[in-house]
């Protein structure tokens, strides 16, 4: 049972579970990118810039869906199956890309991630732990 722990990111007293993970691009190369672990989100949503980094030249070719965001509005999201690594654990995860991701980080949601890992947010220790199930 593999476990990996990431320290929270810290900015002027504000903490956040922003972690590095690896995603494999269309060219087979693993890229290290960062995302905010968001247990309140079903979908993982990355920006279109990350899509380009992974060699996805036309994000709209993904499975189209709409996702409700904080103000009740909806943003278009295009979902791909992406080989992903968190720590040493590799999995295939549904990752959505959107040109309308307004928050300043990628979001790592529950789909495929929280079913593979037990995820513990420890705000006292300022760390997040992924334990493979």
């Amino acid at each position: 049972m593999r476990t990996v722990t990431f320290p929270y990111s810290l900015y002027r007293g504000n903490i956040g579970p922003i972690i590095p993970l690896q995603a494999r691009g269309e060219d087979g190369e693993w890229k290290t990118i960062w995302a905010y672990v968001d247990s309140g989100a079903f979908f993982s949503i990355f920006s279109n810039d990350e899509a380009a980094l992974l060699g996805i030249t036309d994000p709209t070719k993904g499975t189209h869906t709409h996702v409700v965001v904080g103000d009740g509005g909806k943003i278009p999201v295009y979902v791909f199956q992406v080989s992903t690594r968190i720590g040493e654990v590799e999995l295939s995860a549904h990752i959505g890309f959107s040109p309308h991701l307004g928050v300043g980080f990628n979001l790592l949601g529950r789909q495929d991630i929280f079913s593979r890992f037990r995820v513990c947010f420890d705000d006292t220790a300022k760390e997040i732990t992924f334990t493979e199930k």
């Binding site: 320290p7 190369e29 928050v103």
Partner: protein, 82 residues
């Protein structure tokens, strides 16, 4: 410092670059908010509004290192409701 084992076929990622990002978060947010930085060899090896450009610059400087590519949040992003 552990030296990453370099592969002749594919660049290698060094977790120390991730740690560098955490340790320099305030500097990054204060100076690069809304941009991408590509960190390799524990320094900012590329910085651009586009991730691919930041990565390209880092790979030109350190071709055998797979950079850690960080979308730098804005200060307000740290106080958000998600």
């Amino acid at each position: 410092m552990n030296t990453p084992i370099l592969s002749p076929t594919q660049p290698i990622h060094d977790p120390h670059d991730d740690q560098w990002i955490r340790e320099h978060m305030e500097e990054l947010v204060d100076n690069y908010a809304g941009k991408y930085v590509a960190v390799a060899n524990q320094e900012i090896a590329g910085a651009d509004a586009r991730a691919v450009n930041a990565e390209r610059a880092a790979k030109e400087k350190y071709p055998q290192i797979a950079p850690s590519i960080f979308r730098v949040p804005r200060p307000d992003d740290f106080v958000c409701a998600l």
